[in-house]
């Protein structure tokens, strides 16, 4: 039998000599990174000490390399500072894991805790697939990159008024539709469209109705996570709104969205809402549907409102907002329609809204397609267990799932009959 290596030789590293200065140098470097992360977090030495259960003088010794950070203490320091253990050890940073750590460490509003937990899980799986299954980083399409490059020219700086925000959002939506050759009709699978063009992973999960979702920027990529416990039209508006933040390079790393945030009295939110409205319901497309319905010029009947909701897959509130913006329905007329209630409107005009698209609540579970595809391939190649696929799909890890994943071995994940 061949004898395998043991100890340091097995690890391919030299055995440290008793006089080696390496441990001291390493302790000093770890200490410097602790100090840098603490300053970055705007935290005092006393506060960090409280969080990790040490005195201020002990923190000071660690930061100056006079006290070595024990391996058991590393995770506590990483959690408290919102960084990863890898960062403290000076390893090459893994962006997805770093964001997962910050999502776990950050104390966001209670309403968004479920979204934070799901986002953290997705970033951890992203890191796992990158490390073990060599998943490439997401890349924007040529059109998507062009939109991002030109976004600054149609939206120069922060808009100074609601009107300017409307103009910016509208122009950006027009640029996006034109560059991606989307015409002016309804957009189909918005989540897939965003993923295809913008290096953004999109996930939908039933996360309750306390918060709409969140958007996390990680360098050139991003994750948009929305709660599917809202009507589908509302979810689509949230996705488009978050896309605007991403295209415009919102400097916030984690954007948490409740209804109050999305409609906050701020220029960037007005602009994102204007983008979402024009992107989902461009004026030309709306006019074309009204023409097809035979509406008299300059009027929008209740029946037309219901037909437009169905056609564009949007909520009543989003549609009335957009009809008002493009000057087809006054605010008071919109409120009158709204007072009828969505259910009543749909029941009265079922002929033009057979599916109730936009107003139905799907409670959909949609993981990012990039992650699911790679996880399925990795499971089939036995690089990872099926449990990773189960976590992504939010399904039980059982024989049925195993059969579904493995039944397709030898086929492409995109082939019909696979769980996607």
């Amino acid at each position: 039998m061949t004898e395998g290596l043991t100890g340091y030789a097995a690890l391919g590293i030299p055995e440290p000599s008793a006089e080696s200065e390496e441990p001291e140098r390493h302790a000093a470097q770890v200490g410097e990174r602790v100090a840098a992360a603490r300053k970055q977090a705007g935290m005092s030495g006393s506060r960090l000490g409280e969080m990790v259960g040490l005195r201020k003088d002990q923190i000071s010794k660690i930061e100056t390399g006079r006290r070595r950070l024990d391996v058991a203490e590393l995770p506590k320091f990483a959690d408290a500072l919102g960084v990863t253990v890898r960062y403290l050890l000076g390893h090459t940073e893994r962006p997805a894991l770093a964001i997962a750590a910050r999502l776990a460490a950050g104390a966001g509003p209670d309403a968004s805790q479920a979204a934070r937990r799901r986002a953290r899980q997705l970033f951890e799986i992203d890191d796992l697939l990158t490390q073990v299954a060599h998943m490439p980083a997401p890349r924007p399409s040529q059109g998507g990159q062009t939109v991002r490059d030109l976004a600054g020219t149609v939206c120069p700086g922060t808009p100074s008024s609601k009107y300017a925000a409307q103009q910016h959002g509208g122009k950006l939506a027009e640029l996006t539709r034109q560059t991606l050759d989307l015409g002016s009709d309804a957009l189909g699978d918005l989540a897939a469209l965003i993923e295809q063009h913008f290096a953004v992973d999109v996930a939908l999960s039933p996360l309750g109705t306390e918060a709409d979702g969140l958007c996390v920027h990680s360098g050139p990529g991003a994750l948009i996570l929305a709660s599917s416990d809202f009507p589908d039209g509302h979810v689509r508006f949230t996705l488009a709104h978050e896309l605007a933040h991403h295209i415009l390079g919102d400097p916030r790393e984690i954007i948490e969205e409740g209804e109050c945030d999305m409609f906050a009295d701020s220029a960037s939110e007005w602009r994102a809402n204007a983008f979402a409205g024009h992107f989902l319901m461009p004026e030309r497309g709306v006019l074309s549907v009204l023409d097809w319905l035979g509406e008299k010029a300059g009027t929008v009947s209740e029946r037309a409102v219901v037909a437009l909701m169905e056609h564009f897959g949007v909520s009543l509130a989003a549609l009335l907002y957009q009809l008002n913006v493009i000057g087809l329905l006054s605010y008071s007329a919109g409120q009158q329609v709204r007072s009828r209630g969505v259910s009543s409107l749909l029941a009265s005009h079922r002929d033009v809204a057979p599916t109730g698209a936009g107003s139905s609540i799907g409670h959909i579970r949609r993981p990012p397609e990039r992650l699911v595809r790679r996880a399925i391939v990795a499971a089939r190649e036995q690089q990872l267990g099926v449990s990773v696929v189960a976590s992504l799909l939010e399904r039980p890890d059982n024989e049925q799932l195993w059969d579904e994943v493995m039944a397709g071995a030898g086929r492409k994940p995109s082939d019909p009959g696979i769980i996607l």
Binding site: T6, A9, L89
Partner: protein, 95 residues
């Protein structure tokens, strides 16, 4: 027992943990089978595992006997790697 990718990312390295070593100490056929299988592989004994076995060896019967037996069966795993040294710290964090 934990398996981690080696630095070359091609051949695995085995890290026997305390419970694995104690299990092997109380069941000789199992220890024989594991040694037979893993002797051809790279394997690393972490200093913290030895320290834990030494602590258990001071404890009450029967774990003290198991831990002592385990401590006498470590030769095939080579010299322990300390986790208070940079390489060891990094490994422990990875594993």
């Amino acid at each position: 027992m934990t398996m981690a990718p080696a630095s070359s990312r091609t051949e695995p390295v085995w890290f026997p943990d305390t419970s694995a070593l104690i299990t092997m100490a109380v069941h000789a056929p199992l220890q024989h089978a594991v040694r037979e299988t893993l002797s051809a592989h790279r394997r690393v004994l972490l200093g913290v595992v030895v320290a834990e076995l030494e602590e258990l060896a001071k404890a009450t019967h029967p774990s003290a006997v198991w831990a002592t037996t385990a401590l006498c069966q470590l030769e095939w795993l080579g010299k322990p790697v300390g986790v208070d040294e940079p390489a060891g710290v990094e490994l422990a964090a990875e594993v």
